[in-house]
Symmetry: C2
Subunit: 231 residues, 2 copies
């Protein structure tokens, strides 16, 4: 019955958050168009995870785009800076982390907008949240609202009044614990996802970067087993 569903574009990194956002788009009744953007990051293993997740959720289409943000330099995820390991939670929460990628969500949402307009879709999902990652400016509600306003001026569909673009950020006010609980409720298989900033050569998560630590701590607090393999 996918013909009757409205399409939505869902940004899917392959991590825990975006897998949960995809599940939210599915339960909301959209035909899922998953978009994975590879930006020259070290953790290309995420893209494999994105493929698995898209397949498991019954995505109608999964498009992968590659952009070389390394050409611009400037972030631990796109250059050769050392990924911080074993940082205490208080340090992870302080300020903008060096893993911040300049304008990343803006680039991702712009590509999602291009696809959405082509599809005749007005709904874009992104798995950002401002609780565990308060340091990223492009994860805040006021940023997403500004993007939405811009999107409605940027597009033929917006100008011709055929609809109004909406950026859905269903996780934005959830803690990692709440995201995981919600995902489990929606049937997300977190064993398919990948969150690590710095996987070991065989693809397993390092267990020590900020992302791994936040994820593991949340599963522990919930008394659940994280199905992902750690080095």
């Amino acid at each position: 019955m996918n013909e009757e569903k409205h399409p939505a574009v869902v940004l899917l990194s392959g991590g825990l958050d975006s897998a949960t956002a995809l599940a939210e788009a599915k339960i909301a009744g959209f035909a899922l168009h998953a978009l994975t953007v590879s930006y020259g990051q070290r953790h290309a293993v995420e893209i494999e995870a994105a493929r698995r997740v898209a397949r498991s959720m019954g995505a109608v289409r999964h498009v992968e785009q590659v952009i070389d943000l390394r050409a611009f330099g400037g972030s631990a995820l796109t250059s050769d800076l050392e990924i911080p390991k074993d940082r205490p939670a208080v340090m992870m929460a302080a300020g903008i982390p060096i893993t911040y990628v300049p304008a990343r969500n803006t680039v991702f949402l712009s590509l999602a907008l291009a696809w959405a307009e082509t599809l005749g879709a007005f709904d874009i999902f992104i798995g950002v949240n401002c609780v565990d990652y308060s340091g990223y400016p492009d994860c805040r509600p006021e940023y997403l609202e500004a993007f939405e306003a811009m999107a409605n001026l940027a597009t033929r569909a917006g100008v011709e009044g055929r609809g109004k673009f909406r950026i859905h950020a269903p996780l934005i006010r959830l803690s990692k614990d709440q995201i995981i609980l919600r995902g489990l409720e929606l049937g997300v298989d977190y064993g398919l996802t990948h969150s690590c900033y710095d996987p070991v050569p065989d693809g397993r998560a390092c267990g020590r970067c900020d992302s791994c630590q936040i994820r593991r701590a949340a599963f522990e607090r919930l008394g659940r087993t994280d199905p992902v393999a750690y080095a």
Copy 2:
């Protein structure tokens, strides 16, 4: 003395307008960081033009990004739709042309923003104008203002108050004639540029698509010779 200049990122397609915008950024005293985005368009010959123009203007750096917007489908410039030829001016001015690429300027400006933030630049130049291309929603001043507002919320630099991003669109209210006159005044060599939507196999401009027609007519009205070779 480039060390003393503030950097600016300039979107450079290789066409007449963006070459003129680059000249405006140069005369304004910026260290030029030219960004060319290839989006799977047919006129890849534009990229060669962009390289020539960047070199001739003394750009400090020229980065080329490739994005496959064809993966999303939907425009004459990125798929196999027929490029309109020999259209009368009244038709070119009516509505949004089929050569419209969904969210193109948003994708371009987002990449420019990513580079600008990495550089510590706050100035982005784009050669859009809303006189000859009124049909493109993402060429209008209200769109550019919305992008600017979004950019200042999207970025670490914006959030930390280190500066305010500004989208410069120096051509936005100029006609094609005025753009050419200004460019000639600034020393732009229009023989290095390329405007055609559908060049013939040897790379020469077709002379008949909307873009060629608008350009040729402007040079004619000005009584100047268009230095570009037409088929």
